[in-house]
Amino acid sequence: MPELRVNGKLHGVEADAGTPLLWVLREHLGLTGTKFGCGIARCGACTVHVDGEAVRSCSFPLAAAAGREITTIEGLSADRSHPLQRAWIAEQVPQCGYCQSGMLMTAAALLRARPRPSDEEIDFAMTNLCRCGTYARVRRAIRRASGQAAAPEVKRG
């Protein structure tokens, strides 16, 4: 039985070695903050961290997760106090919210490597899809969380 370390806790999991990590997290461990979107590693709703790197868990087999440190949205902070979570609330980023746990996990991986990312770095990291179109607020929140002033709003008209 493979043992998984998720959010600092060890779990024994009985599942086929090829089972996507996403389904182990959601259905075996009950960590339903990580969402299923496309199932082909395209949308990013299923993003978690494996050893601190963003990984699309719908395309990550259970066998590859053994011995690695997995972090889900539930483990990003104990009390929703991660700078990104605070910034997400301050900027009122989510609309329906479905993609946002993946967005947050991708953003957290970005800030871990680039504490003050440029707009270009944000754009190339944040390729998660959002049907509500929250992209501008996502960028603002990442800038806020990294201690950078928000970029000027684009004037319309």
Partner: protein, 252 residues
């Protein structure tokens, strides 16, 4: 069964397709070299003139991926006349024609780009998701190659995988090169990862990531000839002195 259960079930790996490579008799490039370069050059010629269908495709078929084939005997003769090919160069250059058909195949060329991004598909479109090369050829923070590509092909998601998935360095980019330029680049240690011909042949025959070309996963075409045939062509090319086609015979 709920949708999620169905997806869960779909996530279980399918039985591996029997690998063409695994079930073929292995002919290593070392063994091929031991058999003698000239003999292999003759073998490559024989293949091109009526050997296996795969070999005929490799030597005579169109180059996939935007490249152009060298000009056959005329080109080889011209190169030899200008002293650009070593003795036995005709067979060697013919072998290179087979090699270059592999190198220009989308499974290889899509990650041997000269761009800041990889490509995808047989139409070689830029990789979706704004994927970038990044400073270490493995993506950028937040979106590394390993964000999606794992050590094996994933039958559930369809995402291909091999260990340490990454782009070839920019110095090893082959897009836009003529056959002659690509040939020189292939032999240049500054542009081939510091490899001599022996190491180059070994890279093509054994590198786990290069193996992707022959095991691309469902829905993708593998490179046009078996890996051991590429090894034989490499041995024939090396045995003939690794001649290059003359400059200007073909350009992408």
């Amino acid at each position: 069964m709920t949708p999620s259960r169905r997806l869960h079930a779909a996530g279980h790996p399918e039985p591996r397709r029997r690998s063409l490579i695994r079930h073929r008799r292995s002919t290593t490039w070392l063994a091929a070299l031991a058999a003698g370069g000239l003999a292999l050059a003759a073998a490559a010629r024989a293949q091109s003139e009526g050997g296996s269908p795969a070999a005929r495709v490799a030597v005579e078929g169109p180059v996939v991926g935007g490249g152009a084939a060298v000009g056959g005997e005329a080109a080889v003769g011209g190169a030899a006349a200008r002293g650009e090919a070593a003795p036995g160069g005709a067979a060697g250059t013919r072998a290179f024609t087979g090699i270059v058909a592999v190198l220009r195949h989308p499974r290889c060329l899509n990650c041997h780009t000269t761009t800041a991004f990889p490509r995808q598909g047989d139409d070689r479109h830029p990789h979706v998701n704004l994927v970038r090369r990044g400073p270490d050829d493995r993506g950028v923070p937040g979106q590394r190659c390993g964000t999606c590509h794992q050590a094996e092909n994933n039958p559930a998601s369809g995402v291909p995988g091999k260990p340490d998935w990454h782009l070839a360095p920019l110095a090893m980019g082959w897009e836009g090169l003529s056959d002659a330029q690509l040939c020189r680049a292939l032999k240049d240690p500054r542009r081939n990862g510091g490899r001599d011909l022996r190491a180059l042949a070994e890279h093509l025959e054994r590198d786990p990531l290069v193996a992707y070309g022959w095991d691309p996963g469902a829905g993708r075409q593998p490179v046009p000839i078996p890996r051991e045939e590429l090894a034989m062509l490499m041995a024939a090319w090396a045995g003939a002195g690794a001649p290059c086609p003359s400059a200007g015979t073909a350009a992408e």
